[in-house]
Every structure is written in C-alpha cells, then in structure tokens.
Subunit: 413 residues, 2 copies
C-alpha cells in the first residue's frame, strides 16, 4: 500500500509552524505495513489542492490530507474536493447536531445558521466522526483509490487516524501480515546502543528489520517482520526481542506503546510507594510528566517548585549556608532539597532537580546546561550531575528524563 500525504496550510509554507503531523502519520502508517512515498505541503488554495491530488493519485493507492478544514473563511478544501470529484456540497445534519452539542456543553449555544457552512460536505464523502473537534474527517473512494481529508489540529488528526482511518485502510488494502516488537530504552544514545546490539542485528533473518527511533534521552528499538506465516513470524520476533532485551537489560524500561512515566507509575503502584519532587530549573516539568499519566494520584502526592532560593530555604529546609557556600546548583543543595521535600510531603521517595537551564546564567565552573539532581529514599540520598547545551527547553526535558531514570533505577534495584 503506497500512500501520499498532503498537508494543507499557508502557515507551513511561510514557516510559522513546523509540520509535525506528517511524521506522526508516516510512523503510524509504517506500523500497518503502508509506505509513504511522498509528503506534499501545499497552500490553502483550490488549484494547489486539485493539482497535487492529481499527481498524488497517479502514484499512490491512498492519499491522506490534513488541514484546510475548520470554521473560518480561509478553508477552501471542501469546495476544492467537491469540484475535484464533480459533486455538490450537501448539508450534513449529524454534523450540526454534533457541533451544537459541543457548544452547548461549554455553555455557548450556537444557532444553526451560524454553523451552516461547517455542515456542508461533498456529496460523495463518507463522514468520519471527530470526537475531538467540530470538523469531521471525510473518506472518499475515487477510481479505485482512497482519499481521506482530516483537520490539521494534531489531536483531532490523531483521533481520526487511530479510530477511523488506520483501521479502514487496513481493511481496504490488506497485504502480507506485518508484526512489530518495540523495546524502550532510556539513558544511552543511539550509537552506543547500536554498538551493543550489533552482533544480534547482523544475524537477523532477512524478513526482520531493526530500526532505532531516538527521542530526547530515550531510544526505541523497533523490530519489524513481514511474512505469510504469522505464527512463525511471531516466534522469530519474540526471540529476537528477548535477545535484544537481555543484551540491554540495564537500560530497557518497557515494551510497545508505554512511556517512561507510565512504566515508573506501574513500578510505584506495584511496590506501593509514593513519590514527591522538589524542582528548581525544571520548573514543574518533572511533576507534569508524572501527572500526565491517568491515575498518577495513587503514587504522586505533590511537589514544591522552588524557583526562588527563599522557597528552597523556607519550605524545603535547604540551609542558607549550603546555598552560600556551594550555590543553588550543587550536589549539596539537591541532596538537601530531596531530603526536605520527602520530609515535607511525607513520601517514600523524592526527586530534586536544580540547574542552569539557560540560555544565559552560566559561569566558567558551572556552564549553562549544568544540572544536579538527587533521589531520596528512607535509606539513602544520592545525587548525579549532567551537563548539556544551551537550549532551555531541551535542558528541561532532558533533565526530566534523567530524573525519571533515577527513579526507575532505584525501583529496579
């Protein structure tokens, strides 16, 4: 199954936003055995839509479009699609009902007239319900090919892909069975990991491939196999995944679609332990990461974001002498912060983080990107230092991952 992706929107072409939809879609399509041949980013413009669609349909089995749908006037996509297929725009009553219910729910009822244009759909569209927003997706069959149009808002596109488009594409195009095993690691870079598993990778059977998918502080290893015999394929993939996991046992935290935060949540739940945090340079990002997981309240009690040194002293009990002598970004300070917050919030474990996030504020001894962190338990407090670059957000994210990894390692002991 060969796919073209078309992302519509002037905001991409003038560089105002980065197109992250395409990469996400391409990754998901890969998982169902589809291959993305081209990604086209085009203008909010009828001619561009028609011309690109024409070219794409020459080469692809299916064309997935995002963007160009939504309530305001700069949205021409539905008109362009209707023209392309030679059909009229027709009124879609269920869409009105859905949009009105949405507005009702937030206490801002809307009259049908104001929503009229949003309910017009090309007559040949199969409407794909969008529970995340007002504009539904549309599925078209045209000369043996499939065309799908989705809103460009990432959460809406992802909902439609997951609940409607991917299952429908799979059913429509089929193909040889494809299986994946994803091994999740934290704490080492791609090059080191590739070196450690080189011997296994070299001996993989030809129908199994290994890909490295790096993110901030983490690398996912994905085995992909394609074969007619599903049972044999599953066995081979399970064996290879087990070999890789054994080889990387110190850095593997999970499998499949989970996240490091969710894996740590499961470990804390299993051990019946609670956790708290004292954050300085990460400014709440560590706590946000943990609490992004549903059910986090079972193990996460709370945190103190101690941005100001006065807060480090008054709430966490960091001694003025420690701050004066060693500075806020020091082993001694994070040790006191971790002990302090564990005591204050009465938890089994506690994390502390203090660093120079940047882009400014460094010194020769403590350059921007210097970040100390500590973990306290009933028995001990240990600290570690990392040194990163000058990018503030990347430093905050990386420090969060490293702190989560400290929790994981302690729980795995």
């Amino acid at each position: 199954m060969k796919i073209h992706i078309i992302t519509i929107g002037d905001e991409i072409l003038i560089g105002q936003i980065v197109d992250t939809n395409s990469a996400w879609m391409a990754g998901e399509l890969n998982l169902i055995g589809a291959r993305v041949g081209y990604i086209h980013s085009i203008s909010d413009d009828g001619d561009a839509i028609r011309k690109t669609l024409d070219g794409a349909l020459e080469d692809a089995d299916a064309v997935l479009m995002t963007g160009g749908l939504g309530p305001t006037k700069d949205d021409l996509t539905k008109k362009a699609l209707a023209d392309y297929f030679g059909v009229e725009l027709v009124y879609h009553e269920p869409t009105l009902v859905w949009i009105q219910a949405l507005f009702e729910r937030i206490g801002r009822p809307q009259k049908a007239e104001a929503l009229h244009d949003q309910c017009l759909m090309p007559a040949n569209a199969v409407i794909l319900p969008n529970k995340m927003g007002t504009a539904p997706g549309m599925w078209f069959e045209h000369q043996g090919k499939v065309i799908v149009s989705m809103p460009g808002v990432p959460s809406e596109m992802k909902y439609l892909m997951g609940h409607e488009v991917l299952p429908k594409l799979k059913a429509r195009f089929g193909g040889k069975p494809i299986q994946h095993r994803t091994i999740l690691t934290v704490g080492e870079g791609e090059t080191i990991i590739a070196g450690r598993v080189a011997a296994i990778e070299d001996r993989l059977p030809p129908h199994v491939k290994l890909a490295y998918l790096p993110a901030v502080g983490q690398v996912r290893l994905r085995l992909t196999g394609i074969a007619d015999d599903v049972v044999a394929l599953e066995q081979v993939l399970n064996e290879q995944a087990a070999a890789i996991t054994a080889c990387l046992s110190d850095i593997v935290y999970g499998f499949g679609d989970t996240t490091l935060e969710a894996a740590i949540g499961q470990m804390l739940l299993a051990k019946g332990l609670t956790i708290s945090a004292a954050e300085s340079c990460t400014g709440g990002h560590f706590s946000h990461s943990l609490t992004a997981i549903p059910g986090a309240s079972a193990y996460f009690k709370g945190a103190v974001v101690a941005y100001d040194n006065a807060v480090k002293m008054s709430l966490l009990g960091v001694r003025a002498e420690t701050l004066e002598r060693y500075g806020a970004v020091s082993e001694q300070t994070v040790l006191e912060m971790a002990r302090g917050v564990r005591e204050l919030l009465q938890t089994d474990l506690a994390i502390s983080i203090s660093g120079i996030a940047g882009p400014d504020g460094g010194t020769p001894e403590k350059p921007v990107g210097t970040i100390w962190m500590a973990i306290a338990s009933k028995d001990a407090v240990t600290a570690q230092k990392i040194v990163r670059g000058k990018d503030r957000l990347s430093n905050i994210q990386y420090a969060t991952i490293q702190a989560l990894n400290m929790v994981r390692k302690l729980l795995a002991e």
Copy 2:
C-alpha cells in the same frame, strides 16, 4: 519569486524525524519576499528526485533541495542531478583540500583516495563552501531557473542559506515585497473571532489576506500583504492590524512571534509583581509554562503541586471542612488554595487550579473536564469554572492557558 523546497530522506517518510528544515527555510525566504509554493518530502531515490524536480521546475523560479548529501548518501543525489542536467561528475580539488583540513584538525587525517567520491560534483555546479561540514552546497542555473542542493544537517543548511543562498537569490530575483502582521489572541475560539472581525475582513483590500491560526485556547490572526510600494503596504497593514486589535481588544495579548507566557512575563516585569501557583489537576504544567521563558525567575517565585488533599491542607491551608463539604474541585477550594499559596510563597499574585483532568473520575454534577481556577491578589480572590472534554492532556493544556489568561486580564485592568 516562487520557490519549491524538496527535502530528501527516507527518515522523514518513515516518521523517524520531523522535517524542521522546511519551516526554517520558508520563514527566511518569506523575509526576502520569496513565496514558498510547495514543500515536497521525498525518498533517497534517483527517480523520485528527477520526477519531483521536473514538476517543481514547471511552477517555480527556484528549487531548494536539502538532504541526500554526505559521505554515505553522496552519490545518489549528485548522480541524479548530473543525469538531470545531462552533465558529467567532475573532480573538485578545493573540496578535497577542505575535507582533508577538517579531518586533520580532529586528528584523523584521511587519504585522498578515501575521499574521492565526496569530491565529485556535477560539472555545471557552482560550489558553495560549507564551513559547517564536509559536503558543500551546489548552485545550478538551468533554463532560466535556479536549483540549489544543500546537506540536510540543520546547522549546515542554515549556514549555507545565510551565507550563500539567500544573498544570491535576492540578487538574482528581487521580487515584490511581502509583509505580515500577526495579532495574538487568547480566550475565544476561531468561529467567534471570525464573527467579530467579519466586517473588517470583508473590506480588506484585494492584496491583503487574513488567516486564522488556531492552537489550544489561542488563535493567531495573520494579515499578509503583497505590493510594490512597501511604504503604502506597511501603512495599510498597520491600519488593518490596528482595526482588528481595537475590535478584539479584550482578547489580544500581543503581536508577532511572542507567546502568552512571555507576554505575561513582560507585564509582570513592567509592574514589578511576583507570582506563585498552587496546582492540582495541572500537576506542574502551569509552572512549567511560565518557567519555559528565559528570565522567569525575576517574577516567578515557585509553586506547590498539591496533588494530594493532605498537601492542600498542610501546605496551602485549605480547611478539611471545605474539602469535605464542597470537594477538592470546587470554587471554595481553589479560593483557599490561591490565598494559601500567595501567603506561603509571599508573592503579589497567585494562581490555583483544581479539576478532573480525566479520562475517568467524573460524577454527574462534576463531569470529567470540570476545572476550577482562582487568582489571588492583595485586594481580592476571584474564581472561574471551565468545562472541557475527556482528553487528559488537552484539559491540562487548556486549563493552563485559561489560568494564564486570568493573570493577563488581571494585569491588564
């Protein structure tokens, strides 16, 4: 000047990396008055390169390519380009000298033979020196059009764009000036805003367009004008931007590239005020948003993430009676939380947020997505309720934006 961008590399098409080069290039090209008509992401494949180049050159004055250059992938793109132009690959001595010097400097001298293929260039290429890496850029003139090929590594592409490509394009094409004005709003949806500015939009001169760029809780309005007379164009855009701003004065928080967090930071700085937060359902995300801005320590003192009710009571002074009678998600609780954290961290302002982030945990009276928040100042504490859907992360993000908007409104009074 109309441009197509072609990014070459399988890693984009399998979703392994997000193409950030295109957006950066598009933004820079816009500033010199060039318009990016299309962005094509294609495979590391000779046929795809030739075919896409053919289509692009039909429409564009210049085609900028990134990727497909470098020690391992070198041959493919250069060979495809040489074929396309009907020329031979020829040896480029200065490139050898440059690469050898690079390896010399890191103490790994290389023999000329090992670098032979990297020094082969299409005979018609003007070589663009790349001080950031081994593979130079290439500039081609072909049938009155320009084709440029650059490495895909962002730092190398940016160097070549800044030092070679942009100045050369400007000299080569000139072109009609383009200007933008971006107006940033928070607190209303796209539909409502479009209704409010409909009269202004309908009267826009034909060379000025208005686009709506929505994000969670925010909408950016972008005016784009193209005209020969820059002074007249600037005046028209300034007038229209002023009209829109006046019409939306209650929801406009800034202009251009700033963010709501940065705008609030500037307002706090200007008034010499400090702020703190007490977060329950947002779990640190509000604090993270504020502290993602460099220099936030000048006004943000800290926060208490009071996930557990015990923390709400012990640190923030929320009364047990309040929690029992009204629940943690209630007007009374957020009022006490805001007062409590303001007192505890000794700040001028304080925000509190408590809600049911989801996906579970709702009741008929308090469905998932019910979120209370309050803002406390020296003089008063006020609360508001929002009701959203079941998506946890979207609820957290939306609540953060709404809380930031409460701060903005208070500061704007």
